[in-house]
Amino acid sequence: MSNTEEIDAANIATASEKLRRLHPLSWLFVLVLQLRQFAFPLIILLFTGRGDRYELWSLVGVAALAIYSVFQYFTYRYRVLDDELIVRSGVFQKSVRHIPFSRIQNVSITQNVLHRLFNVAEVKLEAAGGVKPEAQMRVLSLADAHELEELIRGHAMVAQMATSAVDTPAADTEILHKLSVIDVVKLGLINNRGMLVIGAAVGFSFQGAGDLMGSLINKGVKYLFGWSDSMHLGASGTALSVAFAIVVFLILVRLFSVLIALLQYYGFSLSQLGRRLTVQRGLLSRLRSSLPLRRIQAYGLSEGWLHRRFNKRSLKVDSAAGVAMNEENKSPLRDLVPLAEPKEMDELIARFLASDQWPIQTWHSLHKAAWQREFMLPALFVSIAGVAGAFFYPAYAAILVLLIIPVLFLRAKVWSAHAAFAHTDHLIAVREGWLSREWRFAEISKLQGLSLREGILDRRYGMASLYLDTAGAQAMSSTFRIPYLPREQANILMAQLSTKISQGPLPF
């Protein structure tokens, strides 16, 4: 940025728009954050007792980081003007960044335990279409953080009212949904996040500390076998105890998941201010993040077996980049409504869509032979595996594998009874699943591209699948597609959608 611009900005600034710094302790938090990346390898080094020299080096590194953090604190300054924020930073390479308020889509405030101890918060300002935050303030005092949040939000509200007269935003925040502690416990039981964490930990330890993990597993297995030997259980007894151990393990994982859910979702509340949603949650580290409703690109409603036991459903949303990503590179707003009763969920969705098209009244079924198509391919693989297995193992092993086929048949039948798609004026939706059910839907104006696919098997049945592409879809989540439509119908649907997309404006 040029010098003249800076001077201009300085002239415009009134007394209240003074130059601000981060919180005086912010160097500490920068340091802690950077240390965390060193901590794990360091601990492993300490435990395995290898590489004394590296420890020394890492100490030197820590010292350098500490000095750098202090410098960073002294150089980071920001100034709030009428319609923009100016951030200056840089130790050697100075940078001045002008961020117009109108560009900021989201202000997210995070507080972990350490932050709460010192009454400070980390603030991220997100712009549209960026994965990295526009500005990241590590850390501000809580009062400053809230002031900034209010300021930017207030500005967004004013801008919105100016641009769209039709929209009449509510004056104050309205709480749409809350989770009680019992709900959070249920959520933990349902989502079973503990399994993911354990899986990741196991994967990491095999990679990072092979020896440590290997010896642990060795000892554990030896202990188990020694124990079962000493009990003189015999084959069936051993099998029983192994089964018991597995059950205990699974229960422990669920309990662990409940703990994680409590940490992440305690005190969850979803509120709406104007056309903007705000989520607040967390037991130890508090998180608050907001999302303009129009940035929601696609919805995913799911109902697993356990969901049904509790009479609940979960809603996830894809949002275009510009929503604060947390450490796991996942938007904290992805799980927009983690758990709600079906009726309440429908009301919430109708509210988000701002239309009465949800819940959808008329669903259209897929191709008549869709269940065959769904059954055929896995059944073929299982048969091949079974036949191949018969050559290598005792024949009964193959027969056991073939027992899966009736299950696959049942699955295909149940799946096809539920699978359907819907196409209303503004919505395109598809539902699938058998044990756990899923609804995927999006506003047609949010679709970015379409593709029609037809494989060899599909051609035999005269069917095609329509794939719908939206912005911000997670790589890991299942693709948004309407499977196994009659070929002609798929073509017509594609043409209809294409027409509707072309008529609508670009949804950003």
Partner: protein, 170 residues
Amino acid sequence: MTTEVTQETPALDSTQQWRPLAASARNVFMGVAVVWTFVLTLVPASIAVIAEDDSPLLYLLGALMLACFTSGIAAYIAFNRWRNTYWRLDDEALYVRRGKTWFKQICVPRSRVQHLDFERGPLERRNGLATLVVHTAGSHERALRQSGLLLTDAEYLRDVLVPKDRGSSE
């Protein structure tokens, strides 16, 4: 340049028919496929043969034949890829259809085009071809890349598909 384009492609908008790839793209597709497959088969196969000590000459001949075989298959696949690819542009969208065994028809609505890339390699320049990459804000299929377009067609598409100023709401 633009006058040339409008002269050569006036029927495009009105007919809205499926149009094949450029005729010269066939040889480019097949040539590239053959050369790459030949090299990528022959080199590892030769190394494997030479690593063994006894009678490498006969085995080298075998590696050569293997390379010919695989590049023949590659040529066949490339030919089919060329023959089965069509594109169409109408008022609403750009369509591309590919393949026969695994058929796929892609539709990029014109109002969803974010930006375009226009690419020409040395072989494409020599044969009057171009590659067009159409970017959208989507996630799984954020870029539609189509090579083997006639230069004039690609230029026409580029000019027509360039996003107009839609009066951003931001």
